[in-house]
């Protein structure tokens, strides 16, 4: 049997570098989660098929799934019957958006989303456009927020769905989903919200907030990869057309034998997240402030996204005149991500930062630090020192920094674009 204490002891002994500061990309499973999952795999555990009604193996697996469903529902103050298991937030987004579009197509074929959404939402909307739907992609303000008036103006008679994320994965900005929910409900439009980056980090109360569909992922909050959930509101009842067929599992909304070990892992992750949310948010906010303070006297740095409505553990900064990928190479002892073109195959800088009105060069120069459950003050201090040292080194190498220091206005230079 897996020993949590032993694991933690080994953790503290093991080599600490590279320091992991990419918790917004994924998180390690909490040892409590891993332990629960391991008890659902082998002959002596709950390996049964929850759909087997004829024997105790099935019943026990069904009980384990029920318990997990309860934990997920509890974190967001929902009814367990409103939770549909999926393979992750991407599938949840697909099921929600396509499911609503297909079910309500007679009512209308117009969908509203936003330019800073995750690709799981944007690419799904693109697919629906190919199927003949019309999609409005809202601009955001430079802060990252959606202007409620712009949203209200975009709603038409034939609008069936608004899909807006709760917390942005690149900037950490928190949208006002309560206000969006009120507006959507008053106009009779269904509201889907991708909460992959917010669950367990900011409070979600679906008794209060009028979200109709909400996507979740396990691996962003110390659960396993490959499992997620979609919240589907019962009152008022929201209907979706299934995208995966075969057996009618999950009330017909998502067929396929339930992955008990994954689901149990997600349930435990959500249980722990609820238990620790308040204390952990405060701790992460403190660490983020420590990180920001460590950079605050540096020249030419820009924070991406408004920190006033923001998830606690994330900080996205552009270090002007330093290209993001080369900075990431220099920072190989910390694991972070960049909005730079060069970290992707597309050679385009982050579409999210561009939507915030950031010039391309600042988008190229951005680094996302995302802190989490296992981040310590020592990690943050080490990061500050390393970043300061490497930014200085790369600026010495940068012709743009040299020009800036010589007082050249870079916006007036005629660049030979290539």
């Amino acid at each position: 049997m897996f020993k949590v204490k032993e694991w933690l002891r080994n953790m503290s002994k093991s080599e600490k570098t590279p320091v992991y500061l990419d918790y917004a990309a994924t998180t390690p499973a909490d040892p409590r989660v891993a332990e629960k999952m391991m008890a659902c795999l082998t002959m002596d555990g709950d390996f049964g098929n929850p759909a087997s009604r004829s024997h105790v193996f099935g019943w026990k697996a069904d009980d384990a799934v029920k318990e997990a469903r309860g934990h997920v529902a509890s974190l967001i103050n929902a009814d367990p019957r409103e939770i549909v298991w999926t393979s992750g937030a991407t599938e949840s987004d697909n099921l929600a958006i396509k499911g609503v579009a297909h079910f309500y197509k007679k009512k209308g074929k117009h969908i509203i989303t936003c330019k800073t959404e995750h690709k799981a939402v944007l690419d799904t909307c693109r697919q629906l456009e190919r199927e003949g739907y019309e999609v409005t992609y809202l601009e955001v303000e430079n802060s990252g927020f959606i202007d409620m008036k712009v949203l209200a103006d975009a709603i038409r008679e034939e609008t069936i769905l608004i899909s807006i994320m709760h917390v942005n994965n690149e900037t950490g900005v928190v949208q006002d989903i309560a206000a969006i929910g009120e507006l959507a409900r008053s106009k009779g439009v269904i509201f889907h919200c991708d909460a992959a980056q917010s669950a367990g980090k900011v409070e979600i109360d679906l008794e209060k907030v009028k979200v109709d569909l909400m996507s979740f992922s396990a691996h962003k909050i110390y659960g396993p990869k490959g499992v997620g959930a979609l919240y589907v509101r019962r009152k008022p009842r929201i209907r979706i057309e299934a995208q995966i067929h075969g057996g009618g599992h999950e009330r017909g909304m998502r067929s396929g034998t339930l992955a008990v070990h994954q689901i149990v892992g997600m349930g435990e992750a959500f249980r722990v997240a609820k238990e620790e949310l308040v204390v952990e948010s405060e701790r992460l906010l403190g660490l983020r402030e420590r990180l920001l303070n460590g950079f605050s006297d540096m020249e030419e740095i820009y924070i991406n996204g408004d920190l006033s409505h923001h998830v606690p553990g994330l900080l996205n900064i552009s270090f002007n005149f330093v290209e993001g990928e080369s900075l990431i190479m220099a920072l190989k002892d910390i694991a972070v991500s960049s909005g730079s073109a060069c970290t992707s195959a597309s050679l385009e800088p982050s579409y999210v930062l561009r939507a915030l009105g950031r010039e391309d060069e600042l988008a190229h120069s951005s680094i996302r630090f995302s802190l989490g459950r296992f981040t310590t003050e020592a990690d943050v201090d080490y990061t500050i020192e390393l970043v300061r040292q490497k930014v200085e080194k790369l600026r010495e190498l940068s012709p743009l920094w040299e020009m800036y220091k010589d007082g050249v206005d870079l916006s007036k230079v005629q660049w030979a674009a290539h």
Partner: protein, 139 residues
């Protein structure tokens, strides 16, 4: 992105970083690329009276491949005549550094940079040729 050892070596220990006085007639400066595209290279050469590149310096804003391409280029051009330097091909740089296909444009930029530096030097030396006549007139 998995880089070759050579890219990592040039990135971590870039050769010939720095600047010459761009107004010096013996210096040719090439600045190519654009900040919006994520890379800008400044390459400078110091040329002897015999037309041999005696020294070279660079500064680059860009990814690891861009830094490595320009660093390697400064090593290669030193000791070469302007004619020889102008014949350096991006494919040779890309091959030496084992750049992945998505990074080949970095070596193209380096080739553009040396061509621009040579052009800048030549445009200056054209003025230098005129100078003695003017002195003669004044005399």
């Amino acid at each position: 992105m998995a880089y070759s050892d050579k890219v990592m070596d040039h990135y971590e220990n870039p050769r010939n970083v720095g600047s010459f006085d761009k107004d010096d007639n013996a210096v040719g400066t090439g600045m190519v690329g654009a900040p919006a595209c994520g890379d800008v290279m400044k390459l400078q050469i110091k040329v002897s009276d015999e037309g041999v590149i005696e020294d070279a310096k660079f500064k680059t804003y860009g990814c690891g491949s861009a830094i490595a391409s320009s660093s390697l280029l400064t090593e290669w051009v030193k000791g070469k005549t302007l004619q020889e330097a102008s014949e350096i091909k991006n494919t040779e740089l890309a091959e030496e550094l084992a750049l992945p296909p998505v990074k080949v444009h970095c070596s193209v930029l380096a080739e553009d940079a040396i061509k621009a530096a040579i052009e800048d030097y030549n445009s200056k030396s054209a003025i230098v040729v005129d100078a003695p006549e003017k002195i003669a007139d004044a005399g």
